[in-house]
């Protein structure tokens, strides 16, 4: 069945005989090019001339490729003339007949794609609820495994694979410094700049320093660092572990008697817990520096700004930022790793895990931030 790419021609002659007994004579080259038009024409002709039997004469077919066979099959399965028409195909050359007969009507009916089954709303709700419960179970068991893994590794600190922790530190931390610097500096600048107008109305521009210090230390710097980490590193953890799962590297670890959680996850979570507070402190200072630049342009001296900020910004505020950093770090690394371990089969699975890790991490960061804010209010901090 060699292909030809030159021009091809085929023709047909449809005769509607008496008592609905039709004949169809096919001649020429039946290939993808020639039958594309013929197919539609035949469909239209069959609609116009209903018949009860059809005899297809293919003796004049010189060449027939897969497309030509499809036409003959469609005719014989009733796909063109209608399912009620009895169709016989005659005159095919022996080698084509052999090919024609390898594919039966049952093969087509049984294996053609079926329309997707529609489930009821109740079924959908049930399925979503079950998924949520099983997801919660998985998350709880993951938290348990990580906790025991952390405890076990703490007892045997030498077995902790510090090299891996430092590698994550470098990739997720040091390499993130430029982007964190830029975003923090710009956010500090923007907030001070935007606040300048309203504060000026009350002659309170000097209090921009108070606002900047508190808002950055307690809230924004930690959130910025965490969101950048979730996008940069949480997703990387998910992709890394997901690819390892797809490549069966996680299975290899398990069959060696090594728990993937203790071998891969604990290190990343520890790195996240240690790294995020450091990046938060860094972001606090850089963003405040951004605001200070704006205030200096407004005519305040550095000493004035410092004194003003020192009155309002306490060590507690920075410590709150640090504590939030620890929580955010654990969440980002934990969620990234969990989504990586949950990676399913297929080429889009790693991508789905990565997306899910970022979305879940950002959501959980905001939720955790809200919870901490309420706790701090209750503790009068």
């Amino acid at each position: 069945m060699p292909a030809t790419l030159d021009g091809s021609s085929a023709s047909f002659e449809l005769n509607a005989g008496q008592a609905g007994n039709g004949t169809l004579i096919l001649t020429g080259r039946l290939d993808a090019r020639s039958i594309a038009g013929m197919w539609k024409e035949l469909e239209a002709r069959f609609r116009q001339t209903p018949m009860s039997t059809l005899e297809v004469n293919a003796a004049g077919v010189g060449y027939c490729d897969g497309a030509g066979l499809a036409l003959l099959h469609a005719l014989s399965f009733g796909g063109l003339a209608g399912p009620e028409v009895r169709v016989t195909v005659q005159g095919l050359r022996p080698e084509l007949l052999k090919l024609f007969e390898t594919f039966a009507a049952e093969d087509y009916r049984e294996n053609r794609p079926q329309p997707p089954e529609h489930s009821s709303v109740t079924e959908e709700v049930g399925r979503v609820a079950l998924d949520a419960v099983s997801g919660l179970k998985e998350e709880l068991s993951f938290i348990g495994e990580v906790t025991t893994g952390l405890a076990a590794n703490m007892r045997r600190a030498k077995a902790l694979r510090w090299g891996e922790i430092w590698r994550v530190f470098e990739v997720a931390g040091v390499n993130a410094l430029p982007i964190i610097s830029l975003i923090s500096l710009l956010v500090g600048l923007i907030i001070a700049f935007e606040a300048a107008g309203p504060f000026e109305m009350f002659g309170a521009q000097i209090y921009i320093a108070n606002m900047l210090g508190i808002i950055m230390a307690r809230e924004l710097a930690g959130l910025m660092a965490a969101i950048i980490l979730a996008g940069r590193s949480g997703s990387a953890f998910a992709a890394e572990l997901g690819t390892m799962k797809v490549n069966e590297e996680l299975n290899a670890l398990e069959t060696m008697g090594l728990s993937p959680v203790r071998f891969l996850v604990v290190q990343r979570i520890l790195a996240g817990i240690l790294l995020t507070p450091l990046l938060t402190i860094y972001a606090i200072f850089v963003s405040i520096a951004g605001g200070v630049v704006v205030m200096m342009f407004m005519g305040f001296s550095l000493v004035t700004i410092y004194n003003q900020m020192a009155q309002s910004l306490h060590l507690t505020d920075i410590l709150i930022g640090v504590v939030k950093g620890v929580i955010f770090g654990a969440l980002i690394a934990g969620i990234g790793c969990l989504r990586g371990l949950q990676t399913k089969k297929g080429p889009s699975a790693v991508g789905e895990s990565t997306t899910s890790s970022v979305v879940t991490a950002i959501l959980m960061i905001i939720v955790a931030d809200a919870v901490v804010a309420v706790l701090l209010y209750l503790l009068h901090l």
């Binding site: 069945m1 594309a36 539609k40 897969g66 497309a67 499809a70 099959h73 796909g79 594919f103 294996n111």
Partner: protein
């Protein structure tokens, strides 16, 4: 069907490699219409690289690859696309698109390159799947198939447009003997009954004896062809003892570079 002894592919003075490193130099051989042509050689000698050059994935350092009157190395634009459609390729891993069902994989070239109605494309795809005994897996996802099934489905996709020439990269690798033998039978049937020309890269001796009409044997050290002919001829009468030992599956063959 329509098997003649004319050459469908002619490789002339092909030198190939990566960067500065030359893997093979001055390869000259031809593939005849309707034959099962096997490229073989030891692991890592560059067999698959030769195949990837023959299908136009990599540009050679020098040389020509002729498909009939057209040189794939210099063909550009539409000419090149027309040339590429003359052959189908089955990659070592099957390379089925994981986000599509098996049937959709086989339908893809028909959707892209023909104006056929949907029913025709579905019928063609199912017929090709039936040819490789995969029709019952038509609506499954590739991830749900075994390695052998993925390779068979990949062959169905490769023959969707009736290309006439099929390149198979390590079709038997990683398959159990029964599945591997089934694949050999399929290759032979497609070749004998439908006139497909096969270019196969493998080092599975049983497969070679089961399917090959002619083989060339590549050698990484001499960077060239050290044997051409029917597999039984090479096994029994090759002047190169290394080739004979390869075919007789003897351990520790001598250094072919040292053999004159």
């Amino acid at each position: 069907m329509n098997v003649s002894n004319g050459a469908v592919i002619k490789v002339k003075n092909l030198t190939l490699g990566y960067g500065e490193k030359v893997l093979m130099q001055n390869l000259n051989f031809e593939v005849r219409r309707g034959e099962v042509f096997v490229i073989l050689g030891g692991s890592g000698c560059g067999k698959s690289t030769v195949l990837k050059h023959m299908i136009g994935l990599y540009p050679p350092m020098t040389g020509e690859i002729w498909f009939g009157p057209d040189n794939l190395v210099t063909a550009q634009g539409e000419d090149r696309i027309r040339l590429l459609r003359q052959f189908g390729v089955m990659y070592q891993s099957g390379a089925l698109f994981g986000s599509m069902t098996v049937l959709e994989n086989v339908r893809l070239p028909l959707d892209e390159f023909t104006d056929l109605p949907a029913q025709a494309k579905e019928l063609i795809a199912l017929t090709k799947l039936k040819l490789v005994a995969m029709e019952s897996a038509a609506n499954k996802m590739p991830a749900d198939l075994s390695g052998g099934m993925q390779k068979r489905a990949a062959i169905a996709r490769a023959i969707a447009l009736d290309p006439g020439i099929l390149f198979l990269d390590e079709p038997s690798a990683g398959l159990d003997p029964i599945t591997s033998a089934g694949l050999d039978t399929l290759i032979r049937d497609l070749s004998r009954n439908l006139g497909f020309t096969f270019v196969i890269v493998t080092h599975e001796l049983q497969s070679i004896f089961a399917v090959a009409d002619r083989v060339i044997m590549l050698d990484g050290k001499t960077k060239g062809i050290i044997g051409t002919g029917r597999p039984d001829e090479l096994r029994d009468h090759s002047p190169n003892p290394w080739v004979r030992q390869f075919f007789n599956r003897q351990a520790q063959p001598p250094d072919p570079a040292a053999i004159t």
